[in-house]
Amino acid sequence: MNCQLFEDLLIDLAREGAVEESVRLQALAHADSCSRCSARLANEQSLSAVIKLARAEGGEAPVRIETALISAYRRRGENTAPEAATRTVPRIVPSRYWGIAAALLVALLGVATFRLLRALRPEQTKVEVSTQGASSQKISRPAAMEATPGRTVPASEPAPLTARSEPVVKKAAPRLPAAKTAPADTEVATEFFPLTSSSELSTMESGQLVRVLLPRNAMASYGLPVNQERIDQPVTAQVLIGQDGVARAIRFLSQQSPNYVQTGTRSKR
């Protein structure tokens, strides 16, 4: 027996494990002749002695666990009494996960349905942005990107508009009768075209209107007819910018009688 073989047997020797008697005697003889192996054996044997003490120490689960388990066992028995011996009780944890998954699915379906209904709803969500004075203007979101006729607003309308601190999202108000003709000193505006999703627009609390000049071709992007004779002239537009700095909607303005069809326009209240 050499030290390597002794090391391989050491734990079984210390644990008094299954070692052949002849091998055990050889190992012990080696330990007698080798001080290092003898010390290793002594250390391992003392460790085994402590482990033996720890093993005998005991320690049990609290009684309340037994009580809870017995209750669970009885409930299970009530549910499966006629066929307890043959049927496996559904596991508790997986069923909980299935419940959560079902709830999530229902919630997702609800959200999807809500969004679909909103998208299909013919009503228009109005966002009211107040001016610094008492006057206010309605910003409406058309149901679809169509050449919706504009409405008239005073040419003296201040821009940009300041936002009110109170919530400004309101339900659609009944439409006013369309103006037959636009006065000379008024601007004609199209309806607002949303630049973001409808949900973002409806949740907007305040915003500013910024007047910009755009190439006239931009009108075509919103389904508006473009006067080819004035194609090289820019068109004035107002962009509604939310409090977060994101552009939410746009409308086009014209000082003159608009080049696009003017049906369904309404005057400012």
Binding site: L47, L53, G58, L69, Y73, V89
Partner: protein, 209 residues
């Protein structure tokens, strides 16, 4: 009492009776195994709450059936330790307490739980308790792969083969891990002894009058 009749029943027999709706068999089965499962969970996780939860989870899982048990692959006890181990690892991963050491409050609770009746050898008990505490503290510092082998093979007295089935590794791996784990344990215990020796001692004052 009623439990006396189950003393000779094997684990499988008890489990089958319990599965068939015999509450007394279930109780006997629980009382036979709860201590082992609880201690295994406690030593592996170093956490009393986890040990309690896992003990409960193991028996709840068994109530749901033992469809994963194959008698040809090992003992029913190995199957239960396997369930417990999976629950413990899941909890430890979730709570990230792989190397947590039992704190004083838990130590105290453990001490209360393990308190036995009055002893005729209080000093011997104290020494024994100190040794066991040192072992537990040293065990708690071992990496999990070594700790679980010590808990299974040394504290729960599973054979190498059964421990290998619980952990899901070859028997040779268990042997080598146990060898290494015992060396680490000895090193830790030696360090603890040195630290204790360095601690200031209260020397008795000699009366000079």
């Amino acid at each position: 009492m009623w439990q006396m009749g189950f003393d000779d029943a094997t684990d499988i027999q008890l489990f089958q009776l319990a599965s068939a709706g015999d509450e007394a068999a279930f109780l006997a089965f629980y009382r036979r195994w709860q201590g082992s499962i609880y201690r295994f969970s406690l030593r592996l996780s170093n956490s009393i709450p986890i040990a309690e939860d896992v003990t409960q989870e193991v028996f709840l899982a068994l109530m749901g059936g033992a469809s994963g048990f194959d008698p040809s692959l090992g003992l029913f006890s190995s199957y239960m330790y396997g369930i417990a181990r999976n629950h413990i690892l899941r909890r430890m991963t979730r709570e990230r307490i792989f190397e947590r050491i039992v704190d004083d409050a838990e130590d105290e609770r453990q001490g209360r739980q393990n308190t036995r009746g009055p002893s005729s050898d209080p000093l011997g008990d104290l020494t024994r308790k100190e040794m066991i505490d040192s072992l537990h503290r040293a065990l708690a510092t071992l990496p999990l792969r070594y700790r679980e082998v010590v808990v299974l093979c040394e504290l729960q007295e599973l054979s190498y083969a059964d421990a290998a089935r619980v952990i899901g590794c070859p028997e040779g791996t268990i042997r080598s891990r146990l060898h290494r784990a015992r060396m680490l344990l000895l090193e830790k215990l030696r360090e603890m002894t040195k630290e204790d020796a360095r601690a200031p001692r209260i020397e008795p004052a000699r009366c000079l009058l």
